[in-house]
Amino acid sequence: MTKSERLAAVFAIAFAIIYAPTMDFNWTLATYHPLKGIWDWGKAAPLGGGSPAMYWYGFVFTPSARSSSPRWRHSSRTS
């Protein structure tokens, strides 16, 4: 396996591992309010007035950011 293949494999596995608790504990990196078109950092409550809060975008951002972090990359080098 080449280094880039190892990194890509670690990224995919780390993404899947982080994605599940991110959803369960709502560790969203961002919240989108579609009715107002507003983005908030982290978990934000719905704005009211029938405007829902969308967390899924944040669910994708959180594991993307965390699985790209140097700690995971280091583990791919040592494995």
Binding site: T2, S4, E5, A8, A9, F11, A12, F15, A16, Y19, M23, Y32, P34, L35, P52, M54, W56, Y57, F59, V60, P63, S64, S67
Partner: protein, 175 residues
């Protein structure tokens, strides 16, 4: 005169809403067409990887099995990314106009299918780099991994396509 003036004032937001609806519908159609192309490409590749033909022979299934999987890789990656991005753009419209209706009518199964679609496609997105790298230099050593990854992505794409189709049947264009 005053009446027609008032009419045009109230009509303008309706025209704006109508053109917005047409715009979302066009994006949804493009999203659907790209999904069909992606479905075709990934299905051909998955079948060729999982059930390769020993030698070229006539017939539909033999032709399907003997396609060169490598030639689909870049198309799959590009189609997946573009379809995914388009999906994320039209997602708020689903959240506001469709999901609320599904909940009102207690249509929890299609709603749950859509939740699964989100998760399967997000996980498939993370598989794309390793998928691309393995298909770039296919060998006997990585055949099992390539086949497994391609099959997982193919299942996710099929799930996403069928779910989108069902949701569109429940509450689609202009409803």
């Amino acid at each position: 005169m005053a009446l027609s003036g008032a009419g045009s004032r109230t009509g303008r937001p309706q025209i704006g809403r109508k053109s917005m609806q047409i715009g979302w519908s066009i994006l949804l159609i493009i999203h659907g067409i790209l999904a069909v192309l992606l479905l075709g490409a990934i299905t051909h590749q998955a079948i060729a990887a999982a059930w390769p033909a020993a030698k070229r022979a006539p017939g539909f299934f033999n032709s399907l099995r003997s396609v060169n999987g490598m030639s689909y890789t870049n198309a799959v990656v590009v189609l997946f990314l573009v379809t995914f991005v388009l999906g994320t753009i039209i997602y708020p419209t689903y959240r506001l106009n469709v999901r609320t209706v599904l909940q009102e009518y207690h249509l929890y199964k299609p709603e749950g299918m859509f939740e699964m679609k989100e998760h399967l496609l997000a996980l498939s997105l993370a598989l794309l780099p390793i998928y691309w790298l393995l298909w770039r230099k296919p060998s006997g050593d990585n055949r099992v991994a390539r086949t497994a990854l391609t099959s997982i992505i193919a299942i996710a794409v099929w799930w996403g396509f069928l779910t989108g189709h069902i949701i569109n049947n429940i509450r689609g264009f202009g409803s």
